[in-house]
């Protein structure tokens, strides 16, 4: 009996092992090797790639990635919380409203990033309209900076915040707020002292999902950021394609991965991390 069940797992286990775990092991090995003269890797083993992460240049990129991700997460929370509350309170239509948030999320991330290039660039819609109206004389530098990257990340990952927040808020017992109001709490006090603490699981889960997505972002800073706005993801890509320093790219990948895992472990309670 049990043998058949093992066979059911075998294809996925093989695929996951060969195309996920083995590649990670190779990256781990490469991160501890030396850079080859023509790209690739060579012996001897060394920690040099990890030491380079403390280089002010790369340390700076790491800090910048952190700051951009944190700001994007906070903005997602500010935009997403009231929206999730609105959906949770909208009765029969809540599924429709929730799907309106999730639909753009599942349609092309690349296209959604391009949409902002279309709006923000010098000859883009916003500048064209402002120029035509005579508000500005020269196009505003809206694209290729940190602000554009934050905007793109918030736009891209807002659904990650709304979904867990909605799930938490929907379950809250409405009578608790009525009780708070009956006992004389003003709406703001009731919100801060009753609703906010009760919605912490959703806030935590949403924030962590948005943050880990932002910290690993590659496409958004690549398309919307300027030459100065690079994040860790772009460093990784560059080491494997342009700079051809595979050991350093591998070390950056592993640091990124470790960061994601530590954050998930720290901020998600038991059970919340079990999608399977």
């Amino acid at each position: 009996m049990n043998r058949l069940r093992t066979w059911f797992l075998a294809p996925a286990r093989t695929l996951n092992f060969v195309f996920f775990l083995v590649p990670l092991a190779i990256i781990l090995a490469y991160s501890l090797m030396s850079r080859g003269i023509y790209g690739g890797v060579e012996m001897p083993w060394t920690f040099e790639s990890y030491q380079r992460l403390f280089d002010p240049l790369y340390g700076g990129i790491l800090m910048r990635s952190f700051a951009i991700s944190l700001l994007s997460t906070v903005l997602c929370l500010v935009l997403g919380y009231p929206l999730a509350l609105f959906i949770a309170r909208s009765g029969a239509r809540r599924n429709l409203y929730l799907n309106l948030v999730m639909l753009p999320f599942w349609t092309s991330f690349l296209v959604r990033t391009y949409a902002w290039m279309f709006l923000l660039r010098d000859t883009g819609l916003i500048n064209t309209v402002l120029l035509a109206m005579g508000v500005i004389r020269e196009p505003l530098p809206l694209l290729y900076n940190d602000g554009a990257v934050v905007l793109g990340l918030v736009y891209g990952y807002l659904p990650f915040m709304v979904l867990p927040l909605y799930t938490t808020l929907e379950r809250l017992d409405k009578s608790l707020f009525e009780a708070a109001a009956d006992l004389g709490a003003r709406p703001f006090v009731a919100f801060v002292q009753v609703m906010l603490p009760l919605s912490m699981p959703g806030i935590r889960a949403g924030s962590i999902l948005v943050f880990i997505s932002c910290i690993g972002a590659y496409l958004t800073p690549d398309l919307l950021g300027g030459s100065k706005t690079i994040m860790i993801g772009n460093v990784v890509q560059n080491q494997f394609t342009g700079a051809r320093d595979w050991p350093f790219g591998a070390a950056c990948s592993l640091v990124l991965m470790a960061l994601v895992m530590i954050l998930l472990k720290l901020f998600l309670r038991k059970g919340e991390d079990q999608l399977l």
Binding site: F8, R13, N16, L103, T123, A217, Y218, L256, M257
Partner: protein
């Protein structure tokens, strides 16, 4: 209530933020002018998109890659979901979960490193096959999650009844459980297909010269500058993926 009116207004604002950029993008795909000034309705950019051989070829590549990787990932993922539903396999479940939260760029470079390492021993090159296998790797977890969600709503005693009546374990799966969870399996396949056809980051790292996908060509065109052709393809892509996602959602909610 006053506060609920504020809340609705706020929600309308956020919905506008989510949807207006895509709507504007789509609107300008029908613009007669090359520039961002409205000069009347035209289908010229769609005509140009379909006349562009590179674009059309990359769209076919994307389609074949998505079909192949969806077929493999859905088969392996459905069997895996069933296996995980029956008995615990914490290491496999954990590893699938990890593959879901790993940043795409890390998945991409690690697969590139794997392929380059294998190519030292085998005379192979990057191409359609490497892209398909990469897509299978990241679609697998999506399929498993979707199918397992469906299995949780399935009454296991039906299967036990079938086996009490003499069905083998395989027969019980094929004739009782699989038909019951089929909507979930199709939903998972649609989801995998969507994720595959839209991927740029991983694909661009593991694709060869003969296997450029639609997102790769769109990326290059977007990089190069303004062209309403990109708006036209984007509009078609969003519509196509949107239909698939709505279909997938419908199937998941059907009982």
């Amino acid at each position: 209530m006053k506060s609920s009116r504020w809340l609705s207004a706020y929600a309308v604002g956020v919905y506008a933020f989510l949807h207006v950029p895509l709507l504007v993008l789509a609107a300008f795909s029908f613009n007669a002018s090359k520039f961002t000034v409205w000069q009347g309705f035209s289908l010229e950019w769609y005509r140009l998109a379909f006349a562009n051989d590179v674009l059309v070829e990359s769209a076919w590549n994307s389609l074949w890659i998505a079909l192949a990787s969806t077929a493999i990932a859905t088969t392996a993922g459905t069997l895996c979901a069933y296996g995980l539903w029956k008995r615990k396999a914490p290491i496999l479940a954990g590893s699938l979960y990890l593959s879901l939260v790993t940043p795409e760029i890390v998945t991409g470079v690690s697969l590139l490193a794997l392929y380059q390492w294998i190519f030292r021993f085998l005379r192979l090159q990057l191409g359609m096959h490497t892209v398909i296998l990469a897509h299978v790797a990241f679609c697998l977890a999506y399929v498993v999650i979707t199918v397992i969600a469906r299995l949780r709503t399935f009454d296991a005693s039906l299967e036990e009844a079938a086996m009490d009546l003499g069905a083998t374990e395989w027969q019980a799966f094929r004739l009782v459980t699989l038909p019951a969870i089929l909507p979930g399996v199709i939903a998972a396949a649609l989801l995998a297909f969507t994720v595959s056809i839209d991927d740029y980051v991983i694909t661009s790292l593991v694709a060869g010269v003969d296997s450029e996908t639609l997102p790769m060509v769109v990326y290059q065109m977007a990089r190069r500058g303004v062209s309403p052709v990109v708006n036209a393809i984007s509009t078609l892509l969003v519509l196509f993926l949107g239909i698939l996602i709505v279909a997938s959602e419908r199937l998941q909610q059907r009982t």
